[in-house]
């Protein structure tokens, strides 16, 4: 039987533990306004579309994190920092260059799997009433020269208390996300099949 723990590790572990705590405290001071309050039931919206174009061509259209301004009809302008590195940020202007703003952060960018994952760090509840939103965008080869794009997202409604107003209910959040995903995929198909 293996020893449960080795006594010589204890001072090192204790030190590591204290360092972790200091680090956590420092983070708390830097990020006081992260909006994390939300209700008990996460929601999901998954949309997919078949595109008559090779997967590599479709991936080339969406791969750059800030390319969303070119393929999503609701995004008028994207300002990005960090390229396609994990932690890269994009600020999306919805509808017009001076329209409402949504800020997002890249969590995973995997060209090998033709997939990226991102989260919303700041939203405007008037256009997208969500909280703790994260989504995957994945392109896959269907084998016959066509491809499939899946956009799957998970989020809570923005209203973090009981009895949400109609425009911040689970249903309102689901409808807003569904509309956003559908519009993006439909336009991507149009561009890729040109």
């Amino acid at each position: 039987m293996r020893p449960l723990y080795s006594p010589r590790d204890v001072p090192a572990l204790a030190e590591e533990f204290c360092m972790l705590r200091r680090f956590a405290l420092a983070l708390c001071c830097v990020l006081p306004l992260a909006a994390t309050a939300h209700g008990p039931s996460r929601q999901k919206v998954e949309q997919e579309i078949t595109i008559k174009a090779p997967a590599a061509k479709v991936w080339a259209l969406v791969a750059d994190f800030c390319a969303i301004e070119k393929w999503h009809p609701a995004i008028a302008k994207c300002e990005g920092t960090g390229g396609n590195d994990v932690g890269a940020a994009r600020t999306l202007h919805v509808g017009a260059a001076d329209g409402p703003v949504i800020k997002e952060e890249l969590l995973i960018h995997d060209p090998g799997k033709m997939m990226y994952k991102y989260k919303i760090t700041e939203t405007d509840v008037k256009i997208l009433p969500v909280a703790t939103y994260a989504a995957f965008l994945t392109v896959s080869d269907s084998g016959d020269g066509s491809s499939k794009v899946v956009w799957k997202s998970a989020f809570y409604r923005s209203w973090g208390k009981a009895n949400p107003p109609a425009d911040q209910s689970d249903e309102a959040a689901i409808n807003a996300v569904t509309g956003t995903l559908e519009a993006g995929l439909a336009n991507l198909k149009k561009l890729a099949e040109k």
Binding site: L20, G39, P40, F136, A154
Partner: protein
Amino acid sequence: MRRLRPIVCSLLTVGALASGAALNAAPLAFVTNQGPDNVTVLDLESGKTLATIAVGKDPAGVAWDARHRQIFISNPSAGSVSVIAADRPDKAHSFATGQSPLGIATDPIRDQLYVADFYSRRVDIFSTRDFTRRGHFTLGNAPSGLAVTPDGHWLAVANRDDDNLALIDLRTGQHAAEIAVGGHPFGVTIAPDGNTLFTANVTSNDVSVVDLVARREVRRIPVGEAPYASALDVKRGRLFVTNQQGSTVSVISPLTGETLATVNVGDYPEGIQYSVTRDRIYVASWFDNALYEINPESFKLERTMACGDGSRAFGSFIAE
């Protein structure tokens, strides 16, 4: 740090005793499906679905009541709890609770069910015999996961939005302590010896190891993105933690803080539990609508059992 040793040693001893007392019948899993508002009942030997039972809206939490061989299900969007007889899982009876029941646990020595009301800073107490309300405890903000020590002495509740753990003395009904833990503690797991507790901390991406005797956090162990809940393999003393945003399960040693493995599972893994009878870990994937079986020795994902849309299984969802 030194006092951790005897605690965890006794944790393993009690675990070994518990595994010897396993029942003969095949264990059943009761998985809550948020989308279709039902529960999938799975035979964990055969992997087959025995039944799909309608419950209330957006079912989430599950609590196995070994005293009466019944399963309780919390329905946060219905303001109700549903109860299913484990030996005849064909229908559910529902009763009203507060407006947002989520975390749910039974008492091992009393005929009582504890229901955390997410929006009301309260844990409601119900009879597990006639389902009437017996009272409540006042808690902090967004009470989430909860668990009772095996001796029935302490009820531990994660006050998610207060970043602490409340300890209630069930013998006196008094609020005994609030113990600071990591950011947004959600799932709570108590070791079989009743002395050590683990919280999965959603926003600090770690697990707090809490000494319930000293009433303080003794370790903080980093795991994956947005941990949700944990399960203790009582045979080997390892903790398995679901990472919602990481789509993984972290396997950690509560003794050393070491990560032994990171197992890829479906997206948004939520409820997780160790079956003593099967010696396997079971994990529900909310996005991929399945229950996975993980071998706790090899850390391999051995089986995938389809469930309904939005599988959650938050709590003790295995009847054994």
